[in-house]
Amino acid sequence: MLSTLQPPRSLTLLPFRRLHGSKTIASLASSSPTLDASSVSPPQSQILTTRRSLLSGETTASEIAKSYLSRIRLTEPQLKCFLHVSENVLKEAQEIDQRISRGEEVGPLAGVVIGVKDNICTEGMPSTAASRILEHYRPPFDATAVKKIKEMGGIVVGKTNMDEFGMGSTTEASAFQVTANPWDLTRVPGGSSGGTAAAVAAKQCMVSLGSDTGGSVRQPASFCGVVGLKPTYGRVSRFGLMAYASSLDVIGCFGSTVADAGMLLHAVSGYDRFDSTSSKQDVPDFESQFLSMDSFESKPLKGVRVGLIRETLEEGVDSGVRSATQEAASHLEALGCLVTEVSLPSFSLGLPAYYVIASSESSSNLSRYDGVRYGNQVMADELNKLYDCSRGQGFGGEVKMRILMGTYALSAGYYDAYYKRAQQVRTLIRKDFKAALDHNDILISPAAPSAAYKIGEKKDDPLAMYAGDIMTVNVNLAGLPAIVLPCGLVEGGPSGLPVGLQMIGAAFDEETLLKVGHIFEQTLNGSGFVPPTLPNVA
C-alpha cells in the first residue's frame, strides 16, 4: 500500500516552518538552497477560491468533485477517514454546473466539498456514530446543519470516522476502523472527530462538520494541523446531532484556514425551532472579518487584550508544546496584542467534573438505543433480554464503560455526590472564565498537552487518555466559543508534528476569535501546514 504513495514533498515545504525544540526558522532557511522567500504566500480560503473559479468559469463543480473523489480513492487505504462516501457527489456537482450555465444563482457554498462526522444525521446516507448498534441506520431526515449546507449548494462527500458516539480522544474507539494521522500514519489523528480532521488535512474534502463535547473538534485540529472551530453552546442547532452529553455537545467546523472554518460556521449558525437549546442571538456576518493581508495595518491587532492561561503551561505539558505556545504569544504581541498571564483557579477541577457530567448525561442519552425502533436488534425470547443483548453486542467497550459510570453517578443516593457536585463545579468554572474575559478579549492556551501520539499508546489506560482533554473540557463546561489553529511543529513523524494554539472567547463572540485567528494565520511565516507524507492534490 505504501508503494502507491509518491515520495514526500517535505523538502520544498520544510524550511518555511519552525520546529520547536530543534531548529529555528532562520537556520532552516539558510540550509535550503531552493528557498525563495517571495514564493511564500499565506494560506488561501478554499471556499472563496471555489466560488471565484466557478463563477469565472475557470473550472466546473464536476471537475472539482472528480479531483476530490480521486484523491479519496488514492489516500483512503492508508488513512481510513471515511465510513461512507456519497454516491451522489457527481450528480450534485453536475446540477450546480447546469444552474451556473443557465445563469441561475447558486448558493455561497456551491461546489464546496464537505465531510460530515458520522454522528450527524444525513438523510438516506448511513449515519452510524461509528457504532455497530447503528451499523446500517439511514436517518429519515437531515440534521439542520446539513440541511443548511445543502441549501447553500454544498456537496456532502461522505461521512467521516470518529470514536463511537463521540466517546474518545483518538478515533481508536470506532467500531469499524482506525483513522491514521496524515502527518504520521503510525499516530492517532485525535478524537473524537479524528476522521473529520484528517480528511481536511489530507485534502480529501475542503471543510468538514464535526462535534465537540469535551474537545472533539479542537484536539484533532491540533493533532492534524488544521483549523477547528467550536462555537458557543446554542449557536448551531443540535437537531440531528446524535446526543452524547446534551449540556455540552456542539457542532463545530474544520477548515484548512480560519476563513473557511468561519464561513462554514456562518452557514450553519442560527436559531432552530427544533432545538430548544438553540440561541436566538443574532448571527453576525463572520465573512467580513476575513480581510486580505494587504489591507492589514502594521499592528493590526493593536489593543487586543490576550490572557495566557497560566495553568496550561505548567510541567506536564510537553516542552515543545509550551514553547510553540509561547512563540504564538510573542507573535500576537508583535501584531499589537497586550498579552498577560491569567489564572483560572478552578482549572484542574474541569476534567473530573466534565467526565461526571458527560458520562451521566450519556448514560441517559444512549438509553434510546434499544434495538426496537432502529439499529441492530438481537432477537431474544424476552423483552429485557432483547434490550440487554442488542445493547451489549451493539456498544463498544468505551461506550459501555461510560454508560456504567454514568449509571453509577446518577444512582439514587449518589446524585448529590457526583452529578450535582459537578454542576456546582461548572458554576465555579464559568465564574472564573467570566472574570478572566472581563479583563481580556480572548484567552489562549495549547489545545492539548502533547502532539499526536502513537496508535495504541493510551488505549488501555482511561485516565491517561482523559488527561489529554485537560485543555479543552473547561470551555465546554462554560459553553464558550474557541478556535484552534496550527501555530508550529514539534519533533516527531517524518517531518514534524503540528501543534495547535487554542483561543477562547466570550460567549457569542466568535467574531473576535475569527478576526484574531485570521490575522494570526495570515501573518504566520509559512505557506500553510500540509502533511508531507501524501501525494499532492491534482
Binding site: S279, R373, L404, Y414
Partner: protein
C-alpha cells in the same frame, strides 16, 4: 501508562489536597513527570467511604446492557479507578454554589403542544428491525419487576 500507575500509587500516600487552595502541595521528591494542573487532577486523596464502590454487574442490569464475565473482569477495575478519581470533587467547597444545568440559561424556547405530521414516515418504517403493519414487534415481557 507507567507514569499514570505511578501517579495512582503515589496518590494514596500523598496528603489530602484541597483543590480550592491555589498552590500545589507536591513535594519535589516525587519522581513522576506530571506536575501542575494535570497532576492536581490525579493527586488528591478521595473520600468515597460513604458511597458503595461500583458493582459492575448490578450497574449493567440497571443500564440494560449485557456484560460477559470477561468484560466485568476487564473493565471493572477501570471503572472503579475512574469513579475513585471522581471522588476528588468531594473536597471542593461548593457551599452555596448554584448548580449550572448548562452554560447558557436562555429560557423560554418552548414549542406549541401540537402534533405535526412527519412527511417521511416510510423511511422511519424502513429502519424498524421487526415491523408488522402498524406494530413494532418485540418479545413478551415474561418477568414482572
Amino acid at each position: 501508562m507507567a507514569t499514570t500507575r505511578a501517579l495512582l500509587a503515589i496518590r494514596s500516600a500523598s496528603p489530602p489536597c484541597i483543590i480550592r487552595i491555589k498552590a500545589s502541595t507536591f513535594s519535589s521528591s516525587l519522581s513522576f513527570q506530571r506536575h501542575g494542573a494535570i497532576a492536581r487532577c490525579f493527586s488528591s486523596d478521595t473520600n468515597p467511604s460513604v458511597l458503595q464502590p461500583p458493582d459492575v454487574s448490578r450497574l449493567a442490569e440497571t443500564a440494560r446492557i449485557s456484560v460477559t464475565p470477561a468484560e466485568i473482569e476487564e473493565c471493572g477495575p477501570k471503572i472503579r479507578q475512574v469513579i475513585d478519581w471522581f471522588g476528588q470533587l468531594q473536597q471542593v467547597d461548593v457551599n452555596s454554589v448554584e448548580p449550572a444545568i448548562r452554560a447558557e440559561m436562555e429560557g423560554g424556547n418552548l414549542r406549541e403542544d401540537a402534533p405535526e405530521t412527519f412527511e417521511n414516515r416510510e423511511s422511519i418504517r424502513a429502519s424498524i428491525p421487526s415491523f408488522d403493519e402498524v406494530y413494532l414487534k418485540v418479545p413478551k415481557v415474561l418477568n414482572k419487576e
